[in-house]
């Protein structure tokens, strides 16, 4: 359990990092919190010649609230800092609710928001959450900055839409629209394990109590965070009663992969149960909160 030899660079700025990434190319790996890359290095599943450490780059950490217009979360913001941030609780309650499910406190002390997203593990909570809240990923390279929607960022197992010379620098979370609530549900065999299935639900209602927006995004059932688009469409235009939710969820076809912890049919069962619970929880949070964005 000792890593293969690697060189180590600890740049102090994003610009310096981008230069180093461009000059080392595929031989280098950037390390954020290292809570996924560390095990891969120790097990020699990753053997980069050079490790570029982002932990000294102060400009990459921190959360800025945009006065009612959402949040920007720096890529190197520690998961525990986001979990305990009043700004995150106010502007992205789904993220605040899901973060305590990410591994254990000790892992979240070191693990980062950007690192988890760039790692693009489809079993992880954060990719599903940022997809459900329609966040944008802010990506930089030497040639400039670009922004892409979360749903276009996750390309496959452990594969994000990042070129070798590109760095994820921040996530922009839009403001929660009025009468929009959310919930996270997951099932894991032990506290802190990756969930077998997780479900992020966001429900928006119009003035008459009819669904005008539904996002339902699952972890653990595909190579990317999987949106339940049939169920989403079935909910829009309806009052979200338990029966309506059940019918919408039942209409959704999924074809999850099987592994040691769960067969495909067991995962499909979990999707139904957890999506129902998440959508009902999000709907219950609408009670008494008709005029303001809430969680």
């Amino acid at each position: 359990m000792k890593p293969a030899p690697f060189g180590y660079l600890a740049p102090r700025s994003v610009d310096e990092t981008l230069e180093l990434m461009a000059s080392h190319g595929d031989d280098a790996k950037v390390i954020a919190g290292g809570q996924s890359l560390g095990p891969l290095l120790n097990l020699r599943l990753a053997t980069p010649a050079m490790v570029i450490d982002l932990n000294r780059i102060l400009e990459l950490a921190g959360i800025s609230a945009h006065d009612g217009d959402g949040l920007t979360i720096g890529a190197m913001t520690r998961q525990h800092d986001a979990e305990t941030s009043p700004a995150v609780a106010a502007a992205c309650p789904l993220l605040a609710e899901a973060l305590p499910y990410v591994a254990h406190r000790t892992i979240r002390n070191r693990g980062t928001i950007g690192g988890s997203l760039a790692h693009s593990d489809p079993a992880a909570e954060l990719p599903a959450v940022v997809t459900a809240v329609r966040a944008e990923m802010v990506i930089r390279s030497r040639s400039g900055e670009r922004t892409i929607p979360a749903e276009e960022f996750f390309l496959g197992y452990f594969t994000a839409a990042l070129e070798p010379d590109e760095l994820l620098v921040a996530v922009r979370v839009p403001a929660v629209p009025a009468r929009t609530t959310s919930a996270w549900q997951e099932f894991a065999t032990r506290s802190g394990d990756y969930a077998i299935v997780g479900v992020a639900a966001v429900i928006g209602l119009d003035g008459a109590g009819v669904v005008d927006r539904a996002s339902i995004v699952c972890s653990g059932i595909a190579d990317v965070p999987r949106q339940l688009s049939t169920a989403q469409s079935a909910l829009v235009g309806q009052e979200p009663t338990s029966a309506v939710i059940a019918a919408a969820v039942a209409a959704q076809h999924t074809d999850p992969p099987a592994d040691l912890v769960g067969s495909s049919s067991y995962r499909r069962h979990l999707v139904g149960v957890l999506a129902q619970r998440a959508l009902e929880a999000a709907t219950e949070r609408q009670e008494g909160n008709d005029d303001r964005p809430t969680g």
Partner: protein, 162 residues
């Protein structure tokens, strides 16, 4: 063909003492503490971030030192189990509680538990059993079955003046 990477200098304060060492970048922080500084209280179980035995405090926060690398310690403060008690030769109240409540048997996992619990109790008073079990869920013990450890945390919650 592998080219041996350059060693790097790390200056780190461990248990209040600042040291300067030349390290191979791939050295884990745990190996650096154990082999470089001869602080063998930090234990290595799984060596890939699963078991929690190697937990130390980095700038006051619990981290797993087996998936942290020695160069990353540069400029930081580390507390290991050897630095837990403020009085050399005496046990910290958390350690006393583990002894009194049979919170350890073979003791291999204990240093990691102690530092995890130190962070938890530094921030929390009067936690119930569910909260305690959640707090220690990232640390594995293969002897005690956790009952004694939970009891020790409850005892330390009462006895540790903080």
């Amino acid at each position: 063909m592998t080219v041996q990477p350059d060693e790097v200098v790390v200056t780190v304060t461990v248990n209040g003492e600042t040291v300067r060492h030349l390290v191979d970048p791939r050295t884990t922080a745990a190996d650096f503490l154990r082999d470089g500084l001869e602080l063998t209280g930090t234990h290595l179980g799984c060596e890939h971030g699963v078991c929690g035995a190697c937990t130390v405090l980095l700038d006051g926060r619990s981290v797993r030192s087996c998936i942290l690398y020695a160069p990353q310690l540069d400029g930081c403060e580390v507390t290991t189990v050897e630095g837990l008690s403020p009085v050399p030769g005496e046990l910290h109240p958390i350690q006393e509680a583990f002894r009194e409540c049979h919170g350890l048997q073979c003791g291999f996992c204990t240093p990691g538990f102690l530092l995890t619990v130190h962070e938890f109790l530094s921030e929390t008073k009067g936690a119930d059993e569910d909260e305690i079990r959640e707090a220690i869920s990232g640390n594995l013990c293969r002897c005690t079955g956790y009952q004694g450890i939970v009891a020790a945390v409850q005892r330390a919650d009462e006895t540790w003046q903080r």
